[in-house]
Amino acid sequence: MNQRKSFSPEEILDSLNDLQPAEPSPFLFTRIEARIATQKAQTDFSIRWVSRLAVATLLFIGLNVGTWVYFNQKSELSYEEGVANISSTYSLDSDIYF
């Protein structure tokens, strides 16, 4: 039933001689445009999220650095201020203690 015809090598090699160019589907361009639009939307979405994440990270780092600097300066000042305050409150001569 499923008989296989035999062809000469030249017949087989020449079988592409009369090859006609085929046409792609008429809807292919619409499909390509839709794919480009989807890809663009995905890229925009990722860019939006990456930039948001970058801003959030920068804010987080900035806040931490700011807080650290603020409290470090503040603690040095408050130590000196504290000593001065205590000595003035109790009318102490701070030289005795230093």
């Binding site: 090859l19 085929a22 361009f29």
Partner: protein, 172 residues
Amino acid sequence: MLSREQFQEIYKQYSRLVFNTALGYVQNREDAEEITQDVFVEVHSKWAQFEGRASVKTWLYRITINRSLDYLRFQKRKKRFAFLTSLTDQMEPSDFFHPGVAMEQQEQAALLFRLINKLPESQKTAFILSKVEGLSQKEICEVMQRNEGAVESLLSRARDNLRKQIGNSAES
């Protein structure tokens, strides 16, 4: 950046070229359309990088060839790992139908394409560009970025290999 009109113009001018070249590699309308989509999406995204050292046509041929070979490699890998087909590591498109081949030639063409698929990639590309696309040797040199001697040798080795394989398949 390409405007919609420019992109549509490029598509109109070259879609047949891209589709038919891809068809030469995969011999299946759906797969060839998939590759054509990939090619034009790449053209759209990389248009700004196109330096114009080669013509648009040559550039498109190169993208299509690379995409088609990637597709075939992917199919081969998929087949290799597929359980049922793991014993037959061959690319044999079961649903061969090339719309450009005359009905009475489909059987011979199916056999020829099956054998073309077994050729090394560079011989396959040279043969497809010559036989399917009908490019001149000079044009093949530009697309493949090889000199004329190299292309001539690829084509003659491809023909010899095909003749040998046809002989083998007739004996078996």
